[in-house]
Amino acid sequence: MNSNVASIKLVLLGEAAVGKSSIVLRFVSNDFSENKEPTIGAAFLTQRVNMGNQTIKFEIWDTAGQERFASLAPMYYRNAQAALVVYDITKPQSFIKARHWVKELHEQASKSIIIALVGNKLDLLESDEERKVAREEAESLAQEEGLLFFETSAKTGDNVNEVFLGIGEKIPLKQQEVQNGNGASVNEVSRVDLNVAGSSGANSSGCNC
């Protein structure tokens, strides 16, 4: 059995209505609903994936609508180990926004963050909608910026699991760098867990997994 469980904070970024939440819903519950209302009250969703002898537990953070007026808090992508930057292949504007998010992540997020560029709504091509973002254009952005790249359909489920598996494959190797690479050698022992109603003694780092 798997004894190693690695928790990975994964954040979703992208313009409103490109299908960020739908991709996660497909991945977490293998479900899809048209005109999905945003999830109320969920801090984040979790899903486990087995990768060889390791289990990866994705903690998936939704924007909770804070992207609507470009008001995401920096705290949102702080300490994220992975990010999905999502756009709609029929909406060129959403691809411009995706470029912006990739730049923002490179400037603000952890240096070792794994970013997957995801062009969603492949299914619309079947229903006679026109593709407006060329696959080649997205591929070349991914190559320049060192991103994973996928085209998906949250509606049909096409390629959705592959996104997370692709990130999962990159994780074990990257983990070491997270610890050594970003200069953030925090003394874990002195962190406190406020949820522990301890009355004495120092509480060590609180991992609630």
């Binding site: 977490v28 801090a43 979790t46 939704d62 008001s71």
Partner: protein
């Protein structure tokens, strides 16, 4: 945008963010707006380049800043220095709203007091108290008796009161009963009860009693000091509560000045106009800067000096974080001077740097000179940013026009008065007192 809400909140300071988080959890539809392009208002943590922009006439370029102080993005400098009491109300609110999921905390390493030219550690446990050079042996024994009285006191067991009445005896009378000397009084009143001046001596003992209990329980909770501090700075706190609000449906708009406030015919709040259009709500909560005409000065002004150091403060055992209290009696003042120190281990400064914020309530017309005793303790200061803030409060309680305003952040070293303000506004807005319940954790897991 032409939308209706239950509550509009203006300003993303911590007070406003806690309120919008609490109200969203209760199912209220909240629109939360800030004219600035970042979260936190007065309680934000900012980068060095933002700090230079705010405080200096001729700010350094980003290149110059990074040349001197390392990467700009490694800095998260608080504008207002405060710590959380480990057992205080803000900790309760964080735990009960689950905002602890978004923010990590470290203990502050120690609390210190300045006495007769030296910096002493405030004992955090009995062992430290016995070995502290701060008090003589007889005074230690009297202090012990006093603390035992505090620990044993039970409201409904009159024997434990030892003849004292918390509501009728003044604190000075309590001190007299235990025979405590002036430097011990100073220590209890300023380092434990955290009063900023001596007005409390002639007032009923209860508030001081409660403050001491809070202090003792906070120290007992994690051990080193009564204080906690969030990684990446205090600005994480408002961000954490905005996330809480957002996951419960709150709508957020930064970088959005209020162009017009709309009123009903009978003068009640009706809505606002912004670049995005009109938003209406029966109630607005705001910080004083959004309705200056509805606020008045408390007469108090606080001076704060943010200092960058490349060394820990002397005589603090190289603490990565600490509080130092310069009691008013030590330097011939009415109000204490506070120093709050944090460092790179909290992700608020680049490697090897310390941030010390010195603050006090202004008493003279040369306020920067009032801070000199603190600057002496800090030693060599690489860069200093000084600002003066007037403390404002609302003129009215909001019942007439449904405009509920918060107070400015005061000179106290912790968040207890801020959480009092939160609870007070909450009560006035909702009509019922805030009851903190552990909420059900919503997390789907396969």
């Amino acid at each position: 945008m032409d939308e209706d809400y239950d509550v509009i909140v203006l300003g993303t300071g911590l007070t406003e963010c806690i309120l919008s988080g609490l109200l969203s959890v209760e199912g209220k539809k909240v629109l939360h707006i800030d004219r600035q392009d970042h979260y936190g208002g007065e309680s934000a943590s900012v980068t060095l380049s933002q700090l230079y922009g705010k405080f200096k006439q001729n700010p350094l370029s980003k290149e110059e800043i990074e040349g001197r102080f390392g990467r700009d993005r490694d800095w998260n400098v608080d504008l207002i220095p405060k710590f959380l009491m480990a057992n205080g109300e803000l900790t309760n609110i964080l735990v009960h709203t689950d905002v602890t999921r978004y923010v990590e905390f470290k203990q502050v390493s120690g609390s210190y007091v300045y006495n007769k030219g030296k910096v002493y550690k405030v004992p955090a446990n009995e062992m430290e108290a016995i070995s502290s050079p701060f008090m003589g042996i007889f005074e230690k024994r009297r202090m012990k008796k006093f603390l035992e009285w505090i620990g044993d006191y039970k409201e409904d067991d009159i024997k434990t009161h030892q003849g004292l009445d918390l509501d009728n005896n003044t604190m000075d009378e309590v001190y007299y009963k235990f025979g405590l000397g002036s430097s011990t009084k100073d220590f209890i009143g300023h380092a434990m009860a955290l009063w900023t001046n001596d007005d409390y001596l002639q007032q009923p003992a209860r508030p001081t009693f409660e403050r001491i209990v809070l202090y003792v329980q906070s120290v007992a909770r994690y051990g080193k000091s009564p204080y906690l501090y969030p990684l990446y700075g205090l600005g994480e706190l408002p961000q954490g509560f905005t996330r809480l609000s957002a996951v419960f449906g709150g709508t957020y708009m930064l970088n959005t000045p209020v162009e017009k406030v709309m009123y009903t015919e009978d003068g009640k709040f009706q809505g606002i106009l912004t670049k995005e259009g009109t938003a209406r709500a029966p109630v607005v909560i705001a910080d004083p800067t959004y309705f200056p005409e509805k606020c008045q000065s408390t007469g108090q002004k606080v001076i704060r000096a943010i200092c960058i150091l490349d060394h820990p403060v002397a005589n603090t055992s190289n603490a990565d974080s600490c509080q130092i209290i310069i009691s008013q009696s030590q330097v011939g003042r009415k109000n204490d001077i506070y120093i709050a120190v944090v460092s790179d281990t909290h992700h608020v400064a680049s490697k090897g740097h310390y941030l010390a914020i010195v603050s006090t309530i202004i008493e003279t017309d040369k306020p920067h000179i009032e801070l000199e005793p603190a600057f002496k303790i800090l030693g060599n200061i690489e860069e200093r940013f000084m600002g003066i803030a007037e403390i404002f409060e609302p003129k009215e309680d909001g019942s007439k026009d449904n405009i509920y305003l918060s107070k400015s952040y005061d000179a106290s070293s912790h968040f207890e008065s801020m959480t009092d303000d939160v609870k007070d506004i909450y009560f006035r807005v909702t009509g019922h007192p805030l009851v903190l319940k552990k909420r059900e954790t919503v997390e789907s897991e396969q």
